[in-house]
């Protein structure tokens, strides 16, 4: 018999709450309920199969979530290999999300795959930023371009790209200072860095523990600066990480990797199917 509007809303409210608890942003939960209510209205389920309704809803929900995450699979190693040299990656995001550590992990991954890598510390602002990336560079046996604190961050990026081109380096990874997406001056500074560097990919790093603010971060970084892909760090702290959905939905860009710890090897390809099934469990 056909599903009633009331029954649909009741079921969707339940699933909506589950998703909110997993940190999926409220505007996305609203959109999801609206879309699914339309899809499910009038759909028929077998009269005596209680599980049939649940199965149907979960099926439609899974489709919606997978559609939100998109299916563009970016493999940075492959992209680096086929790219014109140097392959340039710019890392952006708010304060403390895991940019510097993620750069070290990506550098490690590229190096393990036989590529030469140059690091650039375009964070010329935060206390200890140069020392932090510098120690990673030393540990990984990689060169790093840096300037003294207070220098123009865009000039560090420019210098690094120039050096990478001269020396035939395969990839240059550029770190930037954390910044609030609500600070117009800092967003303009980032625009300038991007304009000067002309990255092959700009990567937004988001903290997996972020709640509704992930939506705002993605929206503002997308509109002020623009990015091509997302890496969700600290996924080991929050495996439900609804922020992945919020960010994908508002920016229409894919989450391509997740950070799963503090070691260089703690970087995994993001798997939308696994992620959605873990969310639904």
């Amino acid at each position: 018999r056909p599903l009633s509007r009331e029954k649909i809303e009741e079921i969707l409210d339940d699933y909506g709450l589950k998703l909110i608890i997993c940190d999926v942003a409220l505007p996305l939960v609203d959109e999801l309920k609206r879309t699914l209510a339309e899809t499910l209205e009038g759909r028929r389920t077998p009269l005596f199969d209680r599980d049939a309704v649940k199965k149907l809803v979960e099926q439609e929900l899974t489709l919606f979530l997978l559609k939100t995450l998109g299916d563009s699979q970016i493999d940075l190693v492959e992209e680096a290999r086929k790219s014109q040299k140097p392959f340039k990656l710019l890392f952006i995001g708010v304060n403390g999300v895991g940019k510097t550590t993620t750069i070290a992990k990506v550098a490690h991954m590229l190096k393990e795959n036989g590529l030469s890598v140059l690091l650039a510390c375009s964070d010329t602002f935060r206390a200890g930023a140069v020392e932090q990336l510098g120690q990673h560079a030393r540990a990984l046996g990689l060169p790093m371009v840096f300037k003294k604190y207070g220098s123009d961050p865009a000039s560090v990026g420019f210098e690094a790209v120039h050096q990478a081109s001269r020396k035939g380096v395969d990839a240059v990874l550029i770190d930037t200072a954390g910044r609030m997406h609500t600070d117009i001056n800092l967003m303009d500074e980032l625009k300038k860095i991007k304009r000067v560097v002309e990255p092959s990919y700009t990567i937004l790093v988001v903290d997996a523990l972020t709640g509704n603010d992930a939506w705002n971060q993605a929206a503002d970084f997308s509109s002020h600066v623009g990015f091509d892909a997302v890496i969700l760090a600290k996924f080991d702290a929050d495996v439900k990480g609804g922020a992945a959905l919020s960010v994908s939905f508002i920016s229409k860009k894919p989450v391509i990797y997740v950070g799963t710890g503090q070691k260089y090897s703690d970087l995994k390809r993001f798997n939308p199917k696994e992620y959605v099934s873990s969310l639904m469990s």
Partner: protein
Amino acid sequence: SLSERLQNALKFITRQAYVSEKEVAEYLREIQRALIMGDVDVKLVSQLTEEIKKEFKEPREEHGLSLKDRVVYATYQGLIRILGGEKKELRILPHQLNIFVFMGIQGSGKTTSVGKVAYFLKKRNRRVGVISGDVFRPGAADQLRQLLEGTGIPLYVEPLGNSSVEVIKNGVKWAKGLDLEVVLVDTAGRHRSEESLMNEMKQIIDEVNPTAAILVIDAMIGQQARAQAEAFNKVAKVGYVIVTKLDGSAKGGGALSAVASVGAPIVFVGVGEGLEEFEEFDPVKFVSRLLG
């Protein structure tokens, strides 16, 4: 926008001479949405809704307030009650070395907050020092050194080798030797699923026996705040909370949830990266921002 819808719900309710269940429900629904968008723990949101509903039906005190004011008052009171009421201060005990251990999730703002609290206390003429107890993060000591540059605040750092616990214990001896009133201890970030790190924190607390442990929470943390705070509270009773990055767009509802579950007061909020971008916690300001 959220604040517009809240305003409308409020106008809508107060335009009525008699407020029906339906109108109260509509108002409460808007409050719930505001709190959820602000990342308040879902269980806490429903608990608060019940409290506001009760206050509305059977007010605790006779105010003679208009209906509208009573609604706003009930909403604010419910939230402020969770935060422990009026402002709370960091208590510095006399005639002893006050040891405050800063703990929290990776990247939450501990190191920066250690610098800010040190500077805050120094400006109030406290003899304060800092111990760099994070022996894991690359550049942690440099970060502290640079943050404290020019402040005259003494910093204890050891070259790599000793464990975090050993460094901190040596640092406490150093602080006593300098006859300091307060010493702030920075530690490496950690989260509840990292068992050995949570055990390390337990060991730090047990062997150092601090005056209090301070939990540093990022304003943007979502529904995991409560569980993370409870995990920290298990290994180190949370004495105070600091909420950072309130200069962004995040409302800090997670911090509210954390406070509700561990019962420790928020004493400071971070509103920027600079040492002076630091305020004493104001519950009314925090709640106003949360409600948009």
